[in-house]
């Protein structure tokens, strides 16, 4: 309850009590807050068949998050898991190309839209499937020239719709491939809920590690668990001398207060295969395959260690 000048009393000398925001139930007819709550509940319900939400981020761009996400998905699949990927990079999607799903279409099913699947059985939802290259996303708006004020909201609404409308089915792992941006990591954590577990990708440069350190700091303010970090491009594989040679200085001044899940060398051959949508698990002789397999093993072990607490958090999120 607050006070307001009495009607007709312009000098404010007499005040009457009027209701405040909290005194009024509802918003008069639109129920906007209830609609948003319903969206969140529907999302949680649609993800109820997903055992583990694994978010692959970094904060830094160009460290190989998308390629690593697909490689991890392949390795987790090889270990007998049901795996899908959500490409959360709406504006620079990579997963459709990595999974050779650029010419797929979305087809409505009886329960949401079935998830397009790669040849080796990994589900992939990516804007790259919906919008063939080179089309860029143009969010149309009545507020022209002001997309900085609403675009993030729109993007998260679209991600919410993708998560809520796809028929994910029963999954052991849903991997979410994030776009760059430290501040956005926290926003994804809020969207996906406390059960989402993060894996951060870096390269052995202090520039990248410094940004990843910021992401660790940002995620430290959320209830989400960070499983560890992956050091990508840890040297490159030289096919001439059949050795991994250094790409970055071996000494780093930036310490990451997280367990390292493993290091993966850059393999030019893998890069060429990725462009053609060929999976790393189809080429097990590649030098990066075994390190990725070991990282997948490590992730499974760490996830199973906290499976009971994750289940508790999911249950809480669904309420």
């Amino acid at each position: 309850m607050r006070t307001s000048p009495a009607l007709g009393c312009t000098d404010g000398s007499v005040e009457v009590a009027v209701k405040s925001y909290g005194d009024i139930v509802g918003d008069g007819g639109s129920a906007v807050l209830e609609q948003i709550r319903a969206q969140q509940e529907y999302l949680a319900q649609n993800l109820s068949g997903v055992r583990n939400l694994l978010v692959v981020g970094s904060g830094k761009g160009g460290v190989g998050k998308s390629t690593m996400t697909m490689q991890l998905a392949c390795a987790l699949r090889e270990l007998g898991n049901a795996v899908s990927i959500l490409d959360a990079d709406l504006n620079g999607p990579s997963q459709a190309r990595l999974g050779a799903l650029q010419n797929q279409i979305l087809i409505p099913g009886e329960n949401g839209a079935p998830v397009p699947t790669t040849r080796n059985g990994i589900g992939v939802v990516s804007m790259g499937t919906l919008f063939p290259e080179p089309h860029a996303l143009e969010f149309e708006s009545v507020a022209s020239g002001s997309s900085h004020t609403w675009r993030a909201t729109k993007e998260f609404t679209i991600l919410n719709q993708l998560l809520a409308c796809m028929d994910w089915g029963k999954l052991d792992y849903l991997l979410v491939d994030l776009p760059p941006g430290v501040e956005r990591i926290v926003q994804y954590a809020e969207l996906l809920g406390p059960a989402a577990q993060f894996v951060l990708v870096t390269i052995p440069s202090d520039m990248a590690r410094g940004v990843v350190a910021r992401s660790i700091d940002a995620l430290g303010k959320t209830p989400n668990r960070i499983l560890g970090y992956i050091e990508n491009m840890a040297g490159y594989y030289c096919s001439d001398c059949e050795r991994v040679r250094p790409l970055f200085p071996s000494q780093s001044e930036v310490k990451l207060d997280l367990p390292c899940l493993g290091s993966v060398p850059f393999d030019p051959e893998l890069a060429a295969l990725c462009d053609r949508g060929i999976s790393i698990s189809d080429e097990p002789a590649l030098c990066s395959w075994q390190p990725v397999r070991r990282i997948a093993d490590e992730i499974c072990q760490r996830v199973s260690e906290c499976a009971s607490s994750t289940e508790d958090a999911l249950t809480e999120e669904r309420r």
């Binding site: 009024i24 969206q39 279409i105 979305l106 699947t117 609404t157």
Partner: protein
């Protein structure tokens, strides 16, 4: 946002939402005690912000992005005119239209283009549930 009739100290009820015009929504509220009405006129920034949340105002979508309800309609238009869609305007049976609502709203125009192209390539005359099942099988879903 809530509206209060100060003289009655009563919450006002939403009565009507006019379709967006020049980026502005007109939302009329009435006090159920004294019948006093006010109209809230949003500026384009406010209209777009509500639209971006994917919620409805009153009984009407707060969508301001045209009849397609797709934020990417110009891209879809490019795809259709670029020969990637049939542009044939296939008839959709009611059950197929119902199923289409299972796809995120922003993705429906693209899905329609893809399905109609599939129908055209296979010499089909209309889109019904059987065609959708056939397309699912074709694409290995």
């Amino acid at each position: 946002m809530k509206f209060l009739c100060v003289s009655c100290d009563e919450a006002m009820k939403l009565m009507n939402v006019d379709p967006p015009e020049d980026g502005s929504l007109t939302i009329v509220y009435r006090c159920s005690s004294c019948a006093h009405e006010i109209a809230m006129l949003t500026n384009p920034y406010e209209t777009q912000m509500v639209s971006s949340l994917g919620v409805k105002i009153g009984n009407e979508p707060a969508d301001t992005e045209g009849a397609s309800k797709c934020p990417f309609s110009s891209v879809v238009q490019d795809m259709a005119t670029g020969g990637e869609g049939s542009g044939a305007g296939f008839p959709w049976t009611p059950d197929a239209i119902t199923r289409l609502s299972n796809i995120p709203e922003f993705a429906r125009p693209m899905a329609k283009i893809g399905i109609e192209k599939f129908a055209q390539d296979n010499g089909l005359a209309q889109i019904d549930a059987q065609v959708l099942e056939r397309a699912k099988d074709f694409f290995g879903m």
